[in-house]
């Protein structure tokens, strides 16, 4: 078992709100320099950048394992992260959101429950994004985290971890992760989750979040 640093919420220049410098090659090089073992590409309502980042990462020495993800804006304007086994699975899930590329930060026509169901239907893992933040978080939009939505994890922002806000979310009984929500290269790795896994990848991420078979995860 090895312990790796994972940054499970990284935007690329495909997100309109992200820096144009967030190209696949630049992300791959910076993550290798930082020693990140795994990242998840989570652009707003699209997974189109996942494969290019995977290819860039495999072309770099010590490049991270790249998980294909999406950050869905639900009808309630809450952000939900989906992590998938493959770029194809992520792409199929994103296609169902039918959000126009030019409006990729807009809300998809699906509720919070439907978004989590959609992610699970495509074999993915669902996390409520940056639950410690007021804007675009499930607690911010909905007052509290509904207990009938089967999240696989709750994400605490890097700033939230720094301010000691993670403990407030422990009572949900869900694994807590922290990630950078990077929109620029400088932020990569600023929030991290340490994963105890055999081989970095989606299946091991699922085991680590479920704390199965000796795998585990802890906020860095």
């Amino acid at each position: 078992m090895t312990r790796i640093a994972a940054d499970l919420h990284v935007h690329t220049s495909l997100s309109p709100c992200a820096s144009r410098a967030m190209t696949p090659a630049a992300i791959a090089a910076e993550c290798a320099r930082l020693g990140l073992g795994m990242i998840a590409v989570c652009d707003h309502n699209t997974a189109a950048a996942a494969r290019p980042v995977m290819e860039a990462a495999s072309a770099v020495e010590d490049g991270p394992v790249v998980i294909a993800g999406i950050e869905i804006t639900t009808r309630e304007e809450a952000h939900v992260l989906g992590w998938f086994r493959s770029a194809e699975d992520a792409g199929a899930a994103a296609a169902e959101l039918r959000v126009e590329a030019a409006l990729s930060c807009a809300a998809a026509d699906c509720s919070l429950s439907e978004a989590v169901e959609l992610i699970h239907r495509h074999g993915g893992l669902a996390a409520a994004a940056h639950v410690d933040r007021r804007s675009f978080s499930v607690p911010g939009q909905l007052g509290f985290i509904p207990d009938d939505v089967p999240f696989d994890a709750l994400e605490i922002s890097a700033a939230g971890v720094e301010r000691g806000r993670a403990a407030a979310f422990a009572s949900h009984g869900l694994p807590l992760v922290s990630s950078s929500d990077s929109h620029c290269l400088e932020d990569l790795g600023s929030g991290c989750t340490m994963l105890d896994v055999e081989v970095p990848g989606f299946d091991e991420l699922a085991r680590a979040l479920g704390r199965r078979e000796g795998r585990g995860c802890v906020i860095a």
Binding site: Q141, L142, G143, P146
Partner: protein
């Protein structure tokens, strides 16, 4: 002004006919927000909530905040399960085709005000 007066003067549709709204307490305050964290923090107890937020959580939040009723604006309608939960909790739900801005203006004309300034 009671909830039933407001409903009839502003032509609000009652989504929870199982709950009687006649002869209730006077309603003198209101709050307009789609952010339920803001409702928890700022809505005046005993007031009306105007919102386009139709998620189930609106019921628990409104009950916790001690609101008199929730009015869904600009034609937004919650699912039946939300109405059933509201009936269980004794929280009247109403609906209006007006925008939140217009409905708040009409309520202001009827004498309702926002939360007391802090």
């Amino acid at each position: 002004m009671t909830l039933s007066d407001i409903a009839s003067r502003l032509d609000l549709e009652v989504l929870t006919p199982e709950l009687a709204i006649e002869g209730g307490d006077e309603v003198s305050r209101g709050h307009a927000s789609d952010l339920l964290s803001d409702v928890l923090a700022n809505a005046p107890s005993g007031g009306l909530l105007l919102t386009t937020q139709v998620h189930m959580n609106v019921i628990a939040v409104a009950v916790h905040a001690g609101l008199a009723a929730v009015v869904f604006t600009q034609g937004m309608r919650p699912e039946a399960a939300v109405c059933r939960k509201a009936v269980e909790e004794g929280l009247p739900l109403l609906a209006s085709k007006d925008s939140t801005f217009d409905l708040a203006g009409r309520l202001y004309e009827l004498g309702l005000r926002g939360r007391e300034s802090r």
